[in-house]
Amino acid sequence: MASVTIEQVRKQYGAVPVIHDVSIDIEDGEFVTLVGPSGCGKSTLLRMLAGLEDISGGQIRIGGRVVNDIAPKERDIAMVFQSYALYPHMTVAENMGFALKLKGQDKAAIQSRVKEAADILALEPLLDRLPRQLSGGQRQRVAMGRAIVRHPQVFLFDEPLSNLDAKLRVTMRAEIKDLHQRLKTTTVYVTHDQIEAMTMADRIVVMRGGVVEQIGRPLDLYDRPINTFVATFIGSPAMNLFNGSIVDGRFVTDDGKALPLPPGYSGGAARTYGIRPEHLAIAESGIPATVGVVEPTGAETHLVVKLGAVDTTLVIRDRVDVRPGQSVAIAPDLAKIHLFSSQGSRLN
């Protein structure tokens, strides 16, 4: 196990910069996810950490050692790829033991380490099979087994669950989290799925356009997003945002709807008003809106209502009896309102 320090790291392809002075400190044993939309540079950053991409500037340290010019095999890391990258002509046991064989370990030691990893991941019955004889989930577990058998200082995961179906993804998510809790190995996990990031990580790094937008604990990011990008990227359904300005102690949207402000808020620069769907409720008196779509999920009901011209989502914990076209009054939880400047930065 080791800490990982990414300091002012840059990456450019020719004249095109893709990572701009990124700095992240990852503590020993921490589980950090890099999350962001496609093309934000999260996978490139992970590959730079693995040594599969050169670093154009800055410094990467693993366990205090600068690894900028060190080959991947010397970095004491293990990586799980999106496509699993299992060697198709080798059995599960051979796949898992390949790195140890290259290190020159004897057969007995390799067998024992492979067995230990197979026990952890329930892979023992599959050890003699070839990758093509395994299901997607089993291949994923073998890829993890190949990583843990080496006892590396850092695990790197590059969107490992994106090829699995939704149900298996939930199962594997829990398995990876459980594995981390057992092994306590420093883990850097790349995903574009914010649910994966929220549920698994100790800390989340939100990236956009090669820049770190915010680093923090999942619920901190959820409760206090630093800007409108993080506010809408973290959370599903996404936060409702209304553009407008503060007039006479109320936030008036561009289409004239007046929204209440948090108690004691005195700033006047807010240009965007944000409220999460679960922090809006149907009330007897409130802002008038028209129901557009009703989506009962069983545990809760998602409503899309028209608030002026803006489609606004509500998540109601109870079952509600409303129909499309019906008029309702909605009220925000005043303690949960987010206000942003014209540049999108958080104000309250």
Binding site: A50, G51, L52, A71, P72, K73, I77, A78, M79, F81, Q82, S83, Y84, A85, L86, Y87, P88, H89, F98, A99, L102, K103, L130, P131, R132, S135, G136, G137, R139, Q140, R146, N163, L164
Partner: protein
């Protein structure tokens, strides 16, 4: 009352089926004719090799008797199967086999390594090298053969096995074939092996080479046929029986005074067998590949 032909959907379906059936018959007939045209010389060769009268073989050619033998004998095979003497075809066959095995064996190693390095190595000017490789392929072998003869004579290599093997090991065509095959394998396999601690040679030997059976099979067959059928080059660089291959030796049956059809036919059958075996051994890998199971679910 006049008869009115009513076209029901069933009747239309029956007509379509019968048209498809007729088309199939025509297709099958065409395929049979083409197959006969291709197979008949080989069959004639086999039949002629079982006849012991060379004048009768000549007389039978051009008639259906060329496809029939009433009194088959293996005498021709026994005559040409010697390892010494005037008809040492066993030796020539062995020479050809040695040349084939060493050319194909070393060719697979050299060409696959070159293809792998071009596909995955850190090579400066990769595009230029690839262009040169392709450009070399279009140069006909015959156009460089005289300078090559001079070179090998000066090197004292004439009348050896080496002279029939070394110049043909590296081939731009096979380098390019391997390059194309390796380049299409998933990048993650290379990177996973790198992280596992494999050197570039180890990645080639332990990961990429075992996955390249279809390319190895294709190159083995093409290279094998090329080596086996070499005629002009061995004539120019061999003077004695020591390393003479069977393709050159067979030509000695076609003398100025007489042609030994019976022996030539038997020798030709013998010559055909190893290359046929090579093809049968490798043909199943021509189209099959199990690389797909390496990635994704």
């Amino acid at each position: 009352m006049s008869d009115i032909a009513i076209s029901t959907p069933q009747a239309q379906m029956t007509r379509t089926r019968s048209a498809v059936g007729s088309l199939r018959i025509v297709q099958t007939a065409c395929i049979l004719v083409i197959a006969l045209v291709i197979v008949s010389p080989l069959f004639m060769l086999l039949i002629a090799s079982l006849k012991d009268d060379r004048f009768q073989i000549l007389a039978d050619m051009g008639s259906f008797r060329a496809f029939w033998v009433s009194d088959p004998t293996l005498a021709n095979f026994a005559e040409v199967g010697n390892f010494s003497g005037e008809l040492a075809f066993g030796r020539y066959l062995l020479n050809s086999l040695i040349i084939l095995a060493l050319t194909v064996g070393s060719g697979l190693i050299v060409n696959s390594m070159a293809g792998f390095v071009l596909a995955w190595g850190s090579v400066r000017g990769r595009a230029l090298i690839l262009s040169l490789v392709i450009a070399l392929y279009v140069i006909p072998q015959e156009s460089i053969i005289m300078p090559l003869v001079i070179m090998v004579s000066r090197a004292g290599m004439t009348d050896t096995f080496a002279v029939q093997i070394v110049p043909w090991i590296a081939s731009p065509l096979y380098i390019f074939l391997f390059y194309q095959f390796f380049a299409q394998l998933p990048k993650e396999l290379f990177e996973a092996a790198q992280i596992d601690g494999a050197s570039i040679f180890r990645i080639y030997r332990s990961i990429f080479l075992p996955l390249s059976l279809p390319a190895l099979a294709t190159v083995s067959i093409l290279m094998g046929i090329e080596s086996w059928n070499q005629y002009l080059w061995p004539i120019l660089v061999t003077q004695t029986d020591y390393a003479r291959p069977i393709a050159v030796a067979i030509a000695t049956f076609f003398g100025q005074d007489s042609i030994y059809w019976d022996r030539a036919m038997a020798a030709s059958v013998l010559m055909m067998l190893p290359i046929l075996a090579l093809y049968l051994a490798f043909q199943r890998w021509f189209v099959s590949s199990f690389v797909g199971s390496a990635v994704k679910g």
